[in-house]
């Protein structure tokens, strides 16, 4: 199995004092806690820190770990073998390893130290498993029309010998249409397994909307900026515009201007009150103009001579 160097994980020397270890853990825990740090790998890093501290903070466990490190065999590939017949004897308080904690320990820990939890198994009364709360990001299209999504989470289980094991679960969930952000779904019995034959907990999933490349969500409405040409604006036109799961024909009124909003009722996020899709027009200019176009623009300048967009900036 892969060896976990707890000292290295906490960034402390092997002869660090208990105080130094505590300080190091607290500083790193604050930095990498998944509720605070949203970068990829932060959660994994945090679990590693938590485990390292769980072992090193207690003198008995730390002594055992040091001994294990000294006597075990390391192979070139990085795998590690404990000395033959090695058994953890350090006492583990049942309070120390709640189900919530157990979710975070690696296989390394579970196989070498997990056996101490036998005491936990016997003393624990019949208890309901913990609930798991997860957040699920869905696209705007999925929010409108529903879809199949996967939810991944890890569950802690206590097996017959009292060992605590982590298991990765993946569930396929069918999201119904018209799900909004902040809505909750519950999957009964999909939380952590119960203790001593107790009921499993539930899985709660909170819906979050993922950012969309084209749309901005404002309440139940969705906004999209649509570029149009100067001649489409001046003369009016019909253009196609993306919508949630389809394309729509939108009539650009004659004499449209940049920033003008067109409201497409009922094409926003569905729900008790359906939202609208709001098209924000933006007049776009080509960068390069043919000689013919330039000549026409000169004529246009003369014809539209009275129009001064900067009047409010003069004098």
């Amino acid at each position: 199995m892969e060896f976990k160097d707890y000292y290295k994980i906490l960034g402390v020397a092997e002869d660090a004092t208990a105080d130094e270890i505590k300080k190091a853990y607290r500083k790193l825990a604050r930095k990498y806690h998944p509720d605070v740090n949203k970068e990829a790998g932060a959660e994994e890093k945090f679990k590693g820190l938590h485990e390292a501290f769980a072992v090193l903070k207690d003198p008995a466990r730390r002594a055992e770990y040091d001994q294990l490190k000294k006597l075990g065999a390391f192979e070139k590939g990085g795998s590690f073998h404990p000395p033959p017949g090695w058994r953890s004897t350090a006492r583990y308080d049942t309070d120390d390893f709640s189900q919530g904690d157990a979710q975070q320990f690696s296989d390394f820990f579970a196989s070498l130290f997990g056996r101490g939890n036998r005491a936990y198994q016997h003393r624990a009364p019949r208890m309901r498993g913990e609930d798991i709360h997860a957040r699920l990001g869905i696209t705007l299209e999925e929010a409108a029309h529903g879809g199949e999504k996967q939810v991944q989470f890890s569950v802690a289980e206590v097996d017959e010998s009292g060992r605590v094991k982590r298991r990765n679960k993946v569930l396929n969930i069918k999201i119904p249409p018209a799900m909004g952000p902040g809505q909750f779904m519950r999957l009964r019995g999909q939380g952590s397994p119960g203790i001593g034959g107790g009921e499993p907990g539930d899985l709660f999933v909170e819906i979050e909307l993922e950012a969309h490349p084209n749309f901005t969500v404002v309440g139940q409405d969705i906004l999209i900026t649509v570029p149009i040409t100067p001649w489409e604006a001046a003369l009016g036109a019909t253009v196609t515009v993306p919508s949630l799961g389809s394309r729509l024909n939108v009539k650009i009124p004659k004499g449209a201007t940049s920033g003008q909003k067109l409201r497409l009722t009922g094409k926003g996020l569905p729900g008790k009150i359906s939202g609208d899709q709001i098209v924000v027009l933006m007049v776009a200019m080509p960068k390069i103009h043919s000689a013919e176009a330039e000549a026409l623009y000169k004529k246009l300048a003369e014809a539209e001579g009275k129009f001064n967009p900067r009047s409010h900036l003069e004098g």
Binding site: V170, L171, I173, Q183, F204
Partner: protein, 112 residues
Amino acid sequence: MVRKTGSDRIEIINEETIFTFQEICERFGVRGEFIVELVDYGVIAPLKENSAEEWVFDAAALARLSRALRLQRDLEINLPGIAISLDLLDDVQRLRRQVSLLDRQLKQLLGD
């Protein structure tokens, strides 16, 4: 491992779904006094401000409570600290989204 979940096992939680004070204590394995303290500090709020035994909570309160307990367990934060942390974390999430949105709009405007 992948398990197909039948749609009959998923419940959409609506506004009528509530959780009693007793149920919250059982789900989270905490004592009633602790829940009272959390409400006192404004970490979670019952749907109606009546007497504690009659308190009921919604799913959002459960999710918030779950995060509060994690902060307490993982970062050893005390209750006033937890209350402000949760508020700040909500603010940070909202601001992050706003920033990423404004970033996109700015790029569109400046024509990157």
